[in-house]
Amino acid sequence: MFTKILIANRGEIALRIIRTCNEMGIKSVAVYSDVDRKSPFVYSAFEAYPLGGKTSQESYLNWQKIIDIAKKCGAEAIHPGYGFMSENADFAEAVEKAGLVFIGPKADSIRIMGNKTAARKLMIKNNVPTVPGTEDAITDHAAAQKIAREIGYPVLVKAAAGGGGKGMRLVKEDKDFVQSVESAAREAKAAFNDEAVYIEKFVEEPRHIEFQILADAFGNVVHLGERECSVQRRHQKVIEEAPSSLLDNKLRTRMGEAAVNAAKACKYQNAGTIEFLVDKNKNFYFLEMNTRLQVEHPVTELVTGIDLVEEQLYIASGSALRIKDSFNSFNGHAFECRLYAEDAENNWVPSPGIIEYLNAAKGPGVREDSGVTKGSEISLYYDPMISKLCVWAADRHHALNRMLRALREYEISGIKTSIPFLIKVFEHKDFRAGNFTTKFIEEHQSELLGEDKALAEIASLAAILAQIEEQKKIKVISGNSHNNTISSNWKTTHRIRQLRT
């Protein structure tokens, strides 16, 4: 096993990896941009080295510097996290050339699965079902439009090198095509330095269901079951759960086999994820493979009891898989909410700023993987995801209610977050019933936004009392509270919503 590893990432995922290192007695090395000097992942690491700069390009995408630091500080391996260089085959190769271990798959696997068209061809060859669309990446926008017209709208435009919704556009009408492709290409160029895109058919009533796999250097591959990530906004996952409320054991077995075949087809090693779309007739299609640890890996950890980062480290250090069998049953049910610094009620604008107070939800069944703390500044330089709030409970019903409890309990001020929006999703009858697709947010937007009247009244009263308190001129005396008696007017209707589960 390694004695020291460098983490080429930031935020919650860097801290997540540091925690496993601490538990395994491995020294963790953080690298950080100027903006991140005060971040929890920097002060939680065993060692920390500055990369300088503010933008990703200047810091977390600065390969050579990162590899130099790793070599000089005596790290034996580099963990790329997700995003940044995690799916960059050239980086993986450079790491290996420098005599270090890349904690992830071999460059060839990244390369083929990172190229959507090559991956698609490989899947077709290996009998893994795929969505109709272009075989090759396209840089000629006029040619792309021609193909889009042939497949028929709506189509998806996707960055060939992309992931995580960046450089992705849904095009419903021909007139929007050119602008969408240009914008997607520009985003792709900025994020991945590759402007090629490809076009595919948009699947009807799709649900996003993905399989976690683990593979070692000896050809052993297992899957750890599925995660459902259908609740998305602008192709960004918002809520994930395991297991899926859609799958029965038969479908799980078939999809699990396809996932294992996909991983074997590209000679995969380490942890990876096969993403599928499942349509309204329970047909499933290979969407893409994420050749790295996923943001949403904690829900799998919660229902399998496996520490995926620990398994990654064992595999990367040359061990054979310690898990011998694929998972077709799970312990309980888990949800993850991504907490974004954004204001859903104000057209989802980003909400940068200083976190003035933070008191996370705690107690039974709550797990938080956060990258911030009280006093942290949320900047515009990086992803707006500040934390992942997860719950575990014995079944989906209890997990839904536990997440509602945790979201309501979570105190944060100074910035706005997606929590109020997430609460409305967890209250929504269709989501609770497991009756939803990737279009859930789009279709129910109006029900998922808006002010609760009773709570608005409480907030208004609080604001008035806070202002009076601030002015320090008057002490407001309660109509009743100093009598130590019980209020005569029982306004219990007030907070029905807060208790609805």
Binding site: E187, R234, W490
Partner: protein, 169 residues
């Protein structure tokens, strides 16, 4: 004295009566039964009609940002006097022929899509604003002439910062 609290979509009206330096709050002529205890760090424990709430308050400019039970409200508090002064000020201002386009979000100007002096049709792009790695196209609200860009490409802008001036056609 009347006090008004406005959330994004609602207004609530209270009456504050003073006696011997103490204040008594009324709503619909009924005394408000509320204990409001500061816990520090902008936190308050509110017990209203025996129901208990933890409240987080953060003030930005003249807006109270209030978190309660996971919900989030931007509340503007005004008393009668401030409201009257404001009404006078508003009455004095006149409508301009020009319109400014403000940044709906803080972000980075990645591309300017129009020229000064150019006529742009409604819904066509004026400028691309990137925030937290997502691009947002700022579109013309109606057919207009672009008068002046107040920002350049690569500029970082704050929310509500003026991006450009236009004139309706």
């Amino acid at each position: 004295m009347k006090i008004f609290a406005n959330t994004r979509t609602r207004q609530f009206e209270y009456e504050l009566k003073q006696e011997n330096g103490n204040g008594f709050l009324f709503k619909d002529d009924q005394p408000v039964d509320a204990q409001f205890v500061a816990l520090g760090n902008g936190r308050y424990s509110l017990i209203k009609d025996n129901q208990s709430y933890i409240i987080n308050v953060s003030k930005k400019d003249d807006t109270y940002s209030v978190r309660v039970a996971g919900e989030h409200f931007d509340v503007k508090v005004e008393d009668e006097r401030t409201r009257q002064v404001k009404a006078l000020v508003n009455a004095a201002s006149t409508v301009q022929g020009e319109k400014t386009i403000k940044a709906p979000i803080p972000g980075l100007v990645v591309k300017i899509l129009a020229q000064e002096g150019e006529n742009i049709k409604a819904e066509n792009g004026l400028l691309i604003l990137e925030a937290m790695k997502m691009e947002n196209i700022i579109k013309a609200p109606f057919d207009c002439e672009v008068l002046k860009f107040e920002v350049s490409e690569k500029d970082t802008v704050t929310q509500n910062q003026v991006l450009l001036r236009i004139k309706g056609l």
